[in-house]
Symmetry: C2
């Protein structure tokens, strides 16, 4: 269980197969986010249709609602939400620090108030692992602290705490059918990232996550950290870049040796009427699409593109019909899943490295545009809030 086999390499990029109790993941892979045990507005059938393989859910949200013990008693997350393929849960750490109110951190854990009803709760590494064992995802995360990347002194404190918490998380884990990944932290500080990569690698977890990126730093800082960190990680373990990202982030991440990604961007954009398209990101509410008989993307094989015109989807948006969000979500997720499939093909045939400029240029119009305010909010990057 949880074997990772690298099948091809192209400089630092690689394809692989990660074996889980719910099936094999072909990497590099992009995971849709199903914060509350559902990828918003989609059925599991929609997810199967677009060839989604790995789905992420958020521990913080499910702990608060409906409760991890309830999910356990209902047969675990796979059964509860009827997703038969691999799943991943985060540790809840990021949400506690970004979403919960009036949190208080100490070396043992974090006390926080629920963003839903203000009730008081406490997460420790042991509690986070226990919740994730109740939820039952295939891949689970060590409890970590994600700090302000611009405060070097505090980032060091938070990183060292994250290391102690990673050790405690590993120790607390009891289920053999779950792979717990340690998380590399250290903000945008090369010395801290190096120390963290070495410490977490030494824990010998079956995979390694890189946290604390895509939280406000520049793209150059993100790339510099990845350029520095991935060479320090063991080759034979999958690397998961948490909460990332845009199409260009995926291309750049794979080129730097990342295997697993997740992000709410495609589904959140969809609910704000924004679709990935060959000519760049389209706001389908725009009047220019009122009589556009083309699909969102003529080259796309998703249900939305094979079935509906931009004119129809634009009508749904203007008429405030929720089906619009469903259809664009299907398309946007399929677009990133197709991107990852083509990237795997390019790695396998040895052309990925040389195609990076072409890929970045193809996706430039979908990535370069300034994100709108609500997409920028840090605490929304890593979980799905309602529209």
């Amino acid at each position: 269980m949880f074997e990772f086999t690298i099948t091809a390499r192209n400089n630092r990029a690689r394809t692989g197969v990660f074996t889980t109790p719910h099936g094999d993941l072909l990497t590099p892979v992009f995971a849709p986010v199903g914060t509350q045990a559902t990828v918003k507005t989609l059925t599991p059938e929609h997810l199967k249709d677009i060839n989604a393989t790995l789905v992420l859910s958020n521990t913080y949200h499910l702990y608060l609602r409906p409760g991890d013990e309830l999910v356990r008693d209902m047969g675990g997350l796979h059964t509860f939400m009827q997703w038969p393929n691999p799943m991943l849960t985060d540790s809840g750490g990021f949400q506690v620090f970004s979403l919960a109110q009036t949190r208080k951190i100490d070396d043992d854990g974090v006390t926080f108030k629920s963003h839903i009803d203000g009730s008081t709760h406490r997460f420790t590494p042991e509690k986070s692992v226990s919740i994730q064992e109740n939820l039952g995802a295939d891949i689970i995360m060590a409890f970590d602290e994600c700090s302000d990347p611009n405060d070097h002194a505090y980032t060091k404190i938070a990183m060292e705490r994250t290391h102690r918490w990673a050790e405690r998380s590993v120790k607390a884990k009891t289920r053999a059918d779950q792979a717990l990944f340690g998380i590399v932290q250290g903000g945008v500080n090369a010395d801290l990232r190096a120390a963290s990569a070495q410490f977490i690698s030494a824990l010998d977890t079956p995979g390694i996550a890189i946290g604390g990126l895509s939280v406000g730093e520049t793209k150059e800082e993100m790339h510099a950290m990845l350029d520095m960190v991935t060479p320090l990680l063991p080759e034979n373990k999958p690397r998961y870049l948490m909460g990332v990202g845009t199409p260009e982030d995926l291309i750049n991440g794979v080129a730097r040796g990342i295997d697993i990604f997740d992000c709410v961007l495609p589904t959140r954009l969809a609910r704000h009427h924004s679709a990935f398209a060959p000519e760049g990101r389209l706001n389908l509410m725009n009047a220019t699409f009122a009589r556009d008989q083309r699909p969102i993307d003529e080259t796309c094989d998703c249900y939305a593109c094979k079935t509906f015109t931009r004119a129809y989807i634009r009508h749904l948006i203007v008429a405030k019909e929720l089906l619009a969000g469903t259809l664009i979500s299907i398309h946007n997720l399929r677009a990133l899943i197709r991107l990852m499939a083509s990237i795997r093909g390019y790695i396998d045939d040895g052309t990925f490295e040389s195609r990076v400029p072409e890929l970045l240029s193809q996706w430039h119009g979908n990535a370069a545009r300034k994100l709108r305010h609500q997409e920028h909010e840090v605490h929304e990057v890593h979980d799905e809030k309602p529209l």
Copy 2:
């Protein structure tokens, strides 16, 4: 085209086949409502899966948004919304009288202000037919006036206007691939209903609608009107009871010789968390379902019931996830479509009449409960407003 063949009779109830350019309708049939060219939160695939055959759309809404000429230019309603099976549009009359603001009626037509932006518009019988020809449904309606059922004097005036408008509607019609139904009005007045049934029958339209019921009158009044009207209608034409209704209304309507029904009830209830179930209508938000591992209805073959537990759907509701409305809509529609299929079977085998008490008793818990305020509003019974 538009042949109606009666295949079995059981007292006044009958089964039949109504031939349309988009396929045969087995009657009695229940049509889901897709007010704005979409059955809210469902894809056409969902509708095919539950064996929906006839879908209704609202002329008033589509005229205002996206505009009937746009729909025409996009290939018509079937192509626009990708519904390949039979469709029906109403005349817009009911919505003008119930939904639009500051309307002014004269013998030629109605001037009204849009409920969306307050802009001024005018419907006449000719305009309504022209819009419906642009939309291109298989079954279209004569323009009618639906008046306050308690005002006998005005109801007579409105009915007579409806008759003149029906004649003008028939005359205005140009497309051979659409069946225009005249509409019997007359409120809850036996004398007016009789006069209207005779007048509309004499127009020899390929089907006849009964309007102005389920708008606030008692069940006894509705039944009395149907008992009186249907024997006056030609046997060999389908009869459509507009905007009706609850499961018990369907059973009672079929028993009184009705062939076609439509109602927003199943989908509106769904978006308010209310599901048809063997034990009666369930508000699935109730805490009692938090750990209920049964489907909504163990006897139901719909995707929601074959896949998800009440516990999961309750979680989606509490977490404000839109998928809840999708799943309950699928189930509620399937429940009524299955009811109609079993009614057809009972008519065919000659047992329907004797099974009416049993059917009414089976559905009692789903029908008897008092509707909530928003379900009661007259103007919402015949079209779908946003949640």
